[in-house]
């Protein structure tokens, strides 16, 4: 697939946090994207104090969508909430070397992360 960078390829073929089962009081989830536009990402975070301990994702979308989920699930564990909140979709796109066409998918990833962090605050 010409729209797939090596980074996407790696995350898509061997996604991180796709099989993790996170449950418990300190687990929140955030979902973003719409079926209509072909990308839905759901992120789960296990949080202890101000630190993210573990992350998992589910994705419906193109390989880039899957790769965004996997990249987040790999990057987030160990991060402070503030640091996670500062992450932008554009940074995710840069890290995965997404083509401009796929920037939207990375913005969905940012939204899913924001939604999960919001859910934690509202808790």
């Amino acid at each position: 697939m010409s729209l797939i960078s090596p980074q996407v390829e790696q995350h898509y073929r061997n996604p991180c946090g796709a099989d993790a089962v996170l449950t418990g009081d300190n687990v929140v989830s955030g979902r973003a994207g719409r079926l209509a536009t072909g990308a839905v990402l759901e992120l789960r975070l296990q949080i202890q104090g101000s630190t993210i301990e573990a992350a998992s994702f589910e994705a419906f979308g193109c390989p880039a969508t899957v790769a965004c989920g996997s990249w987040l699930a790999a990057w987030l564990p160990g991060r402070e909430l503030a640091e996670a909140a500062a992450l932008t979709g554009l940074e995710v796109a840069r890290q995965l070397a997404l083509p401009p066409l796929k920037t939207g998918v990375a913005l969905v990833a940012e939204d899913a992360l924001k939604a999960a962090l919001q859910a934690w605050q509202n808790d």
Binding site: L35, G38, E58
Partner: protein, 390 residues
């Protein structure tokens, strides 16, 4: 191509039949018919004779007169020439209302839309989930100023067949012209210009084991249909399509159509059986749906939705299997197929669809290999799908 790839994308393009390649090779040698078929010297006349024989083969498959066949460079051009050419020629006489269908090929839809800038009024017929246009709908939509109706025969994404035999007389009774995109149906379904009151019909070579880069447009002679040309500059093709006629290309198309006349029936029986085999195996996966009318479908195409997985991701899973993914993700929009959306397929499933298409060289082994590759991909993707719960 990697010889271990299973190719089930015949609706995108077919390989050449080796006999077509051979006929073409004869024109490509220095000792062959390389001269310009418009030249009046002996080598030119020899090339012209081959061009005319090829024209007769193409005409024969659709029961037309050779003089009714105009060579073009592809079916996209045939569709553009038919639609813009007829609309522009007849607008004064007849009007500026054009009727077409939401599930048409892009080259029909965009040719129509381009005419809007010239003051034409385009109306799109809707189809139900079956993908078919009804007689009542068509009747209701036709107006006194309808200059042209363009309805495809077999759909390229779903294989769904429109009932041209019943729809055509209604268009003609209204005094409008009828154009049919028969690119996917030529050689797969019967086309009979003696029986069908169709005015213009688009054909392509490369969907029927002929070469890419050549097509044809049938233009009815009696009563004579007139067109305004898109290209200007030579006397070729009755001035409807100037430019040096590429002998090897039209000879390839002619040979492909000649072979189709002889072998299509057997081919179609075989591909229909392979299609059923694939369907019966894949439906076992659960959450697999068939897009479009099952009982009015070209023999070589099947379009399947795999609930919970995205078509583009699935396509990326299918290493070693060449099929078409429903959504047009190489284009700027991430929108799913306009055909499936027009049929009311829910967004999720429209994004989850793949087209499998079969042809003369497909085998049962191809089907069985494809099933295993698809099964593995669907199962992996469903494991982390937020919308699939087995």
């Amino acid at each position: 191509m990697a010889s271990d790839t299973v190719y089930l994308d015949y609706a995108a393009t077919t390989p050449l039949d080796p006999r077509v390649a051979e006929a073409m090779a004869m024109c490509l040698q220095r000792s062959g018919a390389f001269a310009n078929p418009a030249s009046q010297h002996e080598p030119g006349l020899q090339a012209a004779a081959l061009v005319e024989r090829a024209r007769a083969h193409v005409a024969a498959l659709i029961k037309a007169d050779p003089a009714e066949i105009v060579w073009t460079s592809c079916a996209t051009e045939s569709n553009n020439l038919a639609i813009k050419g007829a609309a522009r020629f007849y607008k004064q006489r007849r009007g500026r209302h054009i009727v077409t269908v939401r599930t048409e090929h892009k080259s029909v839809l965009e040719a129509c839309i381009a005419l809007e800038a010239e003051g034409f009024d385009i109306e799109f017929l809707e189809t139900g989930a079956e993908g078919r246009v009804t007689v009542e709908q068509l009747q209701k939509t036709l107006r006194e100023d309808t200059v042209l109706v363009s309805i495809m025969h077999a759909n390229n994404e779903t294989g769904v067949v429109q009932d041209i035999e019943r729809l055509a007389p209604i268009v003609k009774a209204n005094g409008s012209l009828l154009h049919v995109d028969a690119v996917q149906s030529a050689g797969r379904l019967t086309l009979d210009m003696q029986q069908w009151p169709v005015d213009l019909l688009s054909l392509s070579a490369h969907k029927l084991y002929g070469p890419k880069g050549v097509g044809a447009l049938y233009v009815r002679a009696r009563p004579r249909v007139r067109l305004q040309a898109l290209l200007h500059g030579g006397d070729q093709e009755g001035r409807l399509r100037p430019g040096t006629v590429p002998t090897h290309q039209v000879v390839g198309m002619g040979e492909a159509y000649r072979l189709a006349a002889e072998e299509a029936e057997a081919d179609n029986r075989r591909t229909a059986a392979l299609k059923q085999r694939l369907w019966h195996r894949l439906v076992e996966l659960d959450g697999v749906f068939r897009n479009g009318a099952e009982d009015a479908c070209a023999p070589h195409i099947i379009n399947l939705a795999f609930a919970g997985v995205h078509g583009e991701a699935l396509a990326a899973e299918l290493q070693g299997l060449a099929v078409a993914s429903g959504s047009a993700c190489t284009s700027a929009s991430a929108a799913p197929s306009h055909v499936l959306r027009a049929m009311g397929v829910p967004d999720q499933l429209a994004h989850s669809s793949l087209r499998f298409s079969f042809g003369r060289f497909s085998t049962e082994q191809d089907v069985d290999d494809a099933v295993e590759i698809v099964r593995a991909g669907v199962e992996r993707l469903r494991r982390f799908s937020p919308i699939w719960r087995a």
